[in-house]
């Protein structure tokens, strides 16, 4: 338990991704089975212990500590597990601290009525860091800034495995993952994932930087502005995975229910526009459906989701990934005939004899859900990640607006201490400046220095970490699209805004007006 507690503690204070990977990796290599497996499950969120409610913790502490002092301390610290861990009177029992596996075994076995006695015994055998780890484990949710994907990547790196390969076998293994560690250490077979609805890493595209590409080798299709999704149906179960490998089945139950054909598909999740059965709507409409645990009937009716298919990875048990794109496309068209056409269609190919024709198409595309064009090499297999020369994306040119800097905030990571997050606005007809967006990228390091200096020397007010600045600096902001939104007072929100130029030459009064931006909204 001490080693796991130390790992959690270090992770809390570590910001860099690589440092987190190294910390987790070092722990997984050093800790014994089955402790390390339980630790990995805790980090990936695959360990659920539900017997201990926060109320039990509060009651336990109040038996040991003056409730008034406990209340004042909790107010001050703001986190129940941390307050309880710190305030619990030092170890009462001379027994050695428990192992992580012992803790997990006990917590899995106990009922709610047994929980107080068992927790008391465990708390008494641990120091403050150990108690913190125990309480976080027992009440669920470690919150140490580690995603499931990061934890799995750390495991893969520690044992020199391919993270995508680990992801594939993941759903075929269960905590404490002794088979997985045996495989990692070369003592056992690769665990099988044949009968589980597992996630396969997506194939991604490079931006098209120059046109040094022979178009006769490539097929062209639209790039849709929705959520890239992988549909998996195997062994009677359906899963929807996002690009990061998160299970988003719950958010789109109607799509999951209508996909009952064994196989694995790659597509774009979109919602229908205003007219029922009409064209795909903007990303903004789709956002209404994201991140919801339960989906209301109104949501299902107003934002009807469907999937526009790009590719097929598996047809039943048959792995099509090694086959060339042309073969897979043919298989996808056949597969489509077995699907509900109200929920699924195929992303159509566009005719691309030369770049001039493509350019005309790209510029003419004003449909809300089109983000640009894709080029896919006809003979390429389906491989994970971005590989040079196989897939390219060619986005629509961004829109731009001249805005005035209004507020600034310090950045994070390598930009901590610099004012690098800017809120900017445009003018109303009454001559008032209203925020339209926030950006923290697009500038060079030198421009950042200049912007930081501007903020420091032109601050007119401070609100906690936020500085309000003199409304004199014009920023040219590039963005992919703009939508009606309640996020800003102006009633507009930009998608992917970034600073494209600093217009020191331009007087603030000549920045764009809100009506102009509204005209660009889709």
């Amino acid at each position: 338990m001490q080693a796991f507690a130390q790992l959690l503690d270090s992770l809390i204070y570590t910001r860099s991704r690589n440092a987190k990977l190294a910390l987790i990796g070092a722990y997984l290599k050093a800790a014994p089975d089955p402790d390390r497996g339980w630790a990995l499950a805790a980090l990936t969120g695959d360990l659920s212990l539900r017997a201990v409610q926060p109320g039990i913790i509060r009651a336990l502490v109040s038996q040991r500590v003056d409730p008034v002092l406990f209340g004042l301390s909790y107010d001050y610290v703001g986190d129940l597990a941390e307050t309880a861990a710190l305030i619990w009177p030092g170890a009462q029992i001379a027994a050695p601290p428990p192992r992580l596996s012992e803790v997990v075994d006990e917590l899995q076995r106990i009922t709610r009525t047994q929980a107080p006695a068992v927790m008391t015994r465990l708390l008494d055998r641990l120091d403050a860091d150990g108690r913190f780890a125990l309480l976080k484990l027992a009440t669920g949710g470690l919150r140490v800034g580690v995603s499931a994907r990061l934890a799995k990547t750390a495991f893969a790196q520690a044992f020199a495995l391919d993270p995508d390969d680990v992801e594939e076998v993941w759903h075929g293994v269960s905590p404490p993952y002794t088979a997985l560690f045996a495989w990692g250490e070369g003592r056992g077979e690769r665990p099988s994932s044949d009968d589980a609805p597992v996630f396969r890493p997506f194939m991604l595209a490079h931006p098209l930087d120059d046109r040094d590409v022979d178009l006769s080798d490539y097929a062209a299709e639209w790039k849709w502005d929705g959520i890239r999704v992988q549909l998996v149906h195997v062994g009677g179960e359906t899963r929807l995975y996002s690009r990061a490998g998160d299970d988003i089945t719950q958010s789109f139950p109607e799509v999951a229910e209508s996909y009952r054909t064994p196989g694995v598909l790659d597509g774009e999740l979109l919602v229908r526009g205003d007219v029922q059965g009409g064209a795909a709507a903007s990303f903004n409409a789709l956002q209404q459906r994201l991140g919801r645990k339960t989906v209301s009937q109104a949501m299902l009716r107003d934002f009807r989701a469907f999937v526009r298919l790009y590719d097929i990875l598996f047809d039943g048990p048959e792995d099509l990934r090694p086959q060339p794109w042309t073969q897979r496309r043919a298989r996808l068209e056949t597969f489509m005939s077995r699907l509900d056409s109200a929920r699924f269609d195929i992303s159509p190919l566009v005719d691309a004899p030369d770049f001039a024709a493509l350019e005309t198409l790209r510029l003419g595309a004003r449909e809300a859900a089109i983000e640009g064009l894709m080029l896919k090499r006809r003979n390429s297999p389906y491989v994970s990640g971005r590989r040079v020369g196989l897939w390219y994306k060619w986005k629509r040119d961004p829109l731009v607006a001249d805005c005035v800097m209004m507020y600034a905030q310090r950045g994070h990571g390598k930009r901590s201490s610099y004012y690098s997050d800017y809120t900017f606005g445009c003018w109303t007809e009454e001559g008032e400046l209203l925020p339209v967006g926030k950006a923290y990228s697009g500038f060079t390091d030198e421009e950042l220095m200049m912007l930081d200096r501007f903020v420091r020397s032109h601050t007119v007010a401070r609100f906690g970490p936020v500085r309000e600045v003199e409304k004199t600096l014009v920023l040219e902001v590039a963005f992919d699209s703009i939508h009606a939104s309640k996020r800003h007072k102006s009633g507009l929100a930009m998608r992917f805004p970034r600073i494209s130029r600093i217009r020191i030459d331009k007087p603030a009064a000549e920045a764009d007006r809100i009506v102009t931006l509204r005209g660009l909204a889709v």
Partner: protein
């Protein structure tokens, strides 16, 4: 029964002794100030007369220019009006003192800020029995229990050894904490030069003049990043996340403060390595000291007053909050 120590008044700006016409640690300039120690929230400039230890006066001279000061040695008694004043060590920082006040057979101890842990840079706290004990309450919650400093210094040295390509940057209050950390590093056998931020230079020099051995200290300025790899660097907490720290080679950011006990506090500071090192008494020291001195009454100056007052009353010790203004505790 008459109220205890009615010859002492608590005002928001400080503690006032009318018959001696003297203030203790006043927040505004006054005619005569008794200063317990040199931290800026206790020692301010602009008083017409200052009574303090020799060390505290030297610190004030260094920060505010020459002071109209009268030095009082530890244990020496002087009379102000009808009040006897004696200063005894508080163990907080170099020169820190408790003001022991006596009048008409009543004794009041104003402890200022204090701690009970050993500190190689200052004289240890001396408990003085009294009718009224005036105490701070910076860490007066039972979640604050400072670990022994030796373990914290060991962790620090272990990190430096494990990552020789990085500098170890320690945020520490420029008066007291910085010198204590340096002295403890020396006690643990670390004898390489220690690099300090420019804002610490004068106080470190002063500590040395006053007889505290800090080993070899060098300014950070003018050094190239590569030359700082594997070095220990001290800077005021405000410099940790400022542009100043960017000259260091990917530093391990540490912070020496009692607040580091609370993880979220440390995270907000962007600290990678929290060091729980405080010059204030923790919960056990505060309550232990009150039990040891067994005063007739406890007055609480600043910090988590409500918790300490509650604890006293639970034990039948009369206690009240003084609600002084201008006391800061963020960086300790």
């Amino acid at each position: 029964m008459a109220p205890r120590a009615s010859w002492i008044e608590a005002h928001p700006t400080g503690i006032y002794l009318p018959t001696a016409d003297a203030w203790i640690d006043p927040a505004v300039p006054v005619d005569r100030a008794i200063i317990t120690h040199g931290h800026a929230d206790h020692a301010r400039g602009g008083h017409r007369a200052v009574l303090a230890t020799r060390e505290t006066l030297a610190i004030m001279d260094c920060r505010y220019g020459p002071q109209p000061g009268q030095a009082i040695g530890y244990g020496e008694t002087i009379r102000l009006g009808d009040v006897d004043l004696r200063l005894v060590p508080a163990g907080h920082v170099l020169g820190s003192a408790q003001a022991v006040l006596e009048r008409g057979g009543e004794r009041v101890v104003v402890s200022g800020d204090y701690k009970r842990r050993p500190d190689p840079t200052c004289a240890p706290f001396e408990p003085v029995s009294c009718d009224v004990f005036v105490t701070e309450a910076t860490f007066a919650l039972p979640v604050f229990r400072h670990p022994p400093i030796g373990g914290e210094i060991d962790r620090l040295l272990a990190v430096r050894e494990a990552q020789p390509e990085r500098a170890v940057l320690i945020g520490a209050y420029a008066l007291g904490k910085a010198q204590r950390v340096i002295a403890e590093l020396r006690r643990h056998g670390y004898d390489a030069p220690i690099f300090i931020h420019g804002a610490m230079q004068r106080l470190c020099d002063l500590y040395r003049e006053l007889g505290v051995d800090l080993g070899e200290l060098r300014p950070v300025a003018d050094l190239k990043p590569a030359e700082l790899a594997g070095r220990i660097v001290l800077a005021p907490p405000s410099a940790l996340n400022d542009r100043w720290s960017r000259r260091l080679p990917d530093p391990v950011t540490a912070m020496a403060s009692g607040w580091m006990r609370v993880r979220q506090r440390a995270r907000q500071r962007g600290v990678e390595m929290p060091l729980v090192i405080s010059d204030h008494a923790d919960w056990d020291e505060l309550t232990g000291t009150i039990s040891e001195i067994a005063p007739g009454e406890v007055w609480v100056t600043h910090g988590r007053e409500d918790a300490l007052v509650h604890w006293c009353r639970q034990r039948q010790i009369p206690a009240r909050e003084l609600a002084l203004v201008g006391r800061e505790d963020e960086d300790d």
